[in-house]
């Protein structure tokens, strides 16, 4: 099969366009590992952030990357995104890649649909944007200014902006970290549904062990710039945090991250105090 090698000047990245399955439906199966990093290192001055790291991500695989702060998670993601050049080693990533960051990073001066098609040279951009927004359940907000969107809505627009590019590699940099708990659960379901439909390879950078175990096929633990652990999660989705397998993996990961846990017993719900009824009284009423 024909493989086009492309040097991206300045990034130290060799990008590969595999003649893309989306263009030729009769083409042979896409390459098994669109992302290949070999002995990848990244230094900022004397500080080694990524230390001869090896990483493979297969086509359509959902990989979560865990690590303490300062472990190099974001640096690795930025290298994969092509935002930072690497110091040494080799890195192969697909040309079609997109990212969602912790902040939505929408252009405040562009309406939602224009943010979705930002930089795309396509026919009928508005139609495409509407379809992508419908996928994240926001087609009714296509004309909204980003400043009027809630945190979850803005993040869904950012997701639509990433998916409209049909990426082979989707990079998620703690995209749910700034959302409230309920919105986060909805976003987990949404990202899984979209991943099933579009089948990009996904790298999710997170500090939330539960999130990683809930979503990923494989959880990697990064420490001092090296991948120290690679755990496959075989439980069928949807996964429940109450299942013993889940608890076992979580305990294992927490230990790897240096968080000591007792036996993986479920944490009891905090007891909510019963509301105390206080009769209305003018003496506690002030203007």
């Amino acid at each position: 099969m024909q493989t086009i090698q492309l040097d991206l000047p300045g990034t130290g990245i060799t990008a590969r366009n595999d003649g893309a399955s989306s263009f030729r439906p009769d083409a042979p199966v896409p390459p098994r590992t669109p992302v290949q990093a070999r002995l990848l290192s990244k230094q900022f001055g004397p500080n080694v952030i990524l230390d001869q790291l090896n990483l493979d991500i297969r086509a359509g695989e959902f990989v979560a990357l865990l690590g303490r702060s300062g472990s190099g998670k974001t640096t690795l993601l930025r290298a994969l995104a092509g935002l930072d050049r690497i110091t040494s080693g080799s890195l192969e990533v697909p040309r079609a890649r997109a990212a969602v960051f912790q902040e939505p990073r929408l252009m405040p001066w562009k309406r939602a649909w224009r943010n979705v098609t930002l930089g795309l040279k396509i026919d009928q951009p508005r139609e495409r944007a509407r379809k992508a927004l419908a996928e994240v359940g926001l087609d009714h907000r296509e004309n909204a200014w980003p400043a009027t969107l809630s945190g979850g809505e803005a993040q869904r627009v950012a997701l639509a902006r990433a998916l409209v590019r049909e990426p082979q590699l989707l990079l998620l940099d703690e995209p749910f970290a700034a959302l409230d708990a309920l919105t986060r659960i909805r976003m987990h379901q949404l990202i899984l549904a979209l991943w099933r439909q579009h089948r990009p390879s996904v790298l999710l950078v997170t500090h939330d062990v539960d999130e990683a175990v809930l979503l990923a096929d494989r959880v990697l633990v990064l420490e001092k710039g090296r991948i120290v652990s690679d755990i496959a999660i075989t439980q069928p989705r949807p996964r429940s945090a109450e299942r013993p397998e889940f608890q076992r993996v979580r305990a294992q990961l927490l230990q790897l991250l240096g968080v000591e846990t007792d036996a993986p017993a479920p944490v009891p719900e905090p007891e909510i105090p019963a509301p105390v009824h206080t009769p209305f009284n003018f003496s506690n009423f002030s203007i």
């Binding site: 092509g82 990073r105 562009k110 200014w145 400043a147 002030s286 203007i287």
Partner: protein, 285 residues
């Protein structure tokens, strides 16, 4: 204020009084708009009336200051004769020519300085030094260089108004969230696209502040440069009026200056309202 009354008592009087105070508070604000306008207009109106009385009784001679009524009559005459229109047009033309030069120059220099380190090194220090020159002090030098014709007038207006545009656009470009630029790069925007879709719209709010400031400065510099051998324009009218001790014409011209300043300010506000519709302060839905 806190209402402290016995808890369950029949203390109806204080309670009802506090409730009625609450009820009337919002009702008071509604008709007060007209009232506050009148209140604010009252003191200038009283001042005008005193001025008029002083003029009529001869307390304020006409060679010092003409009466308000006389000023309005003169304004009507100047408009009717077409003298005002023609001279305003000449002045407006000077300002617009000067501003178009400074807009081009200020934007170009700000882009050069804002978009690259080399550009900043090459442009910014010079601009920061030139900015501190008092442009009125340059008038004699410009007259020596360019004579006393239109060129000097327009060059001085352009010089004075370049700096606000340059400074605000430059700082606007430097103030853009680097995360947005990064996202735009990741989503495949070329460098020209980045400038059009990210950098210029992002710097626009701060640039419009500079534009408003420039417009203000442009009218100020117009007054100054039109004192130099003008044969037409508002400054010419004022100079002529001075020679004939027509204080009414001078005041009319000053009024027109301020009205022009006000009009251009409203224009920029309208532009802001349209171009910055995305800002939370303007969003109304």
């Amino acid at each position: 204020m806190s209402v402290s009354t016995p808890a369950y008592g029949g203390a109806t009087a204080p309670v009802s009084s506090s409730v009625s105070a609450l009820d009337t508070a919002p009702a008071k604000t509604k008709p007060s708009v007209l009232l506050s306008v009148l209140r604010r207009a009252a003191s200038p109106l009283v001042l005008m009336a005193l001025w008029e009385v002083a003029s009529r009784t001869g307390l304020l001679p006409e060679r010092v200051l003409a009466a308000p009524s006389q000023i309005f009559v003169t304004l009507g005459e100047l408009i009717a004769s077409g003298e005002m229109g023609g001279n305003v047009w000449v002045s407006l033309h000077r300002v617009l020519t000067g501003l178009s030069v400074s807009l081009t120059l200020g934007t170009a220099l700000a882009l050069i300085a804002g978009l690259s380190r080399q550009g900043e090194v090459a442009v910014d220090s010079t601009m920061q030094m030139a900015r501190t020159l008092p442009f009125l002090g340059l008038v004699p030098l410009f007259i020596l260089w360019f004579g006393i014709g239109e060129f000097t007038k327009i060059a001085l207006i352009a010089f004075a108004t370049t700096f606000p545009m340059y400074l605000t656009l430059y700082s606007g470009i430097r103030g853009i969230d680097s995360k947005l630029v990064e996202a735009a790069r990741l989503f495949g925007l070329s460098y020209p696209q980045l400038i059009v879709h990210v950098i210029l719209p992002g710097a626009l709010p701060s640039f419009l502040v500079g534009l408003r400031y420039s417009l203000g400065v442009s009218w100020l510099s117009l007054v100054a440069v039109e004192q130099i051998n003008a044969t037409a324009g508002l400054g010419y009218l004022i100079n002529n009026a001075r020679d004939f001790m027509r204080t009414d014409v001078i005041v009319v011209c000053l009024l027109v200056y301020s009205l022009l300043g006000l009009a251009t300010d409203l224009l920029v506000r309208a532009i802001e309202h349209y171009a910055l519709a995305w800002r939370p302060t303007f969003i109304k839905d």
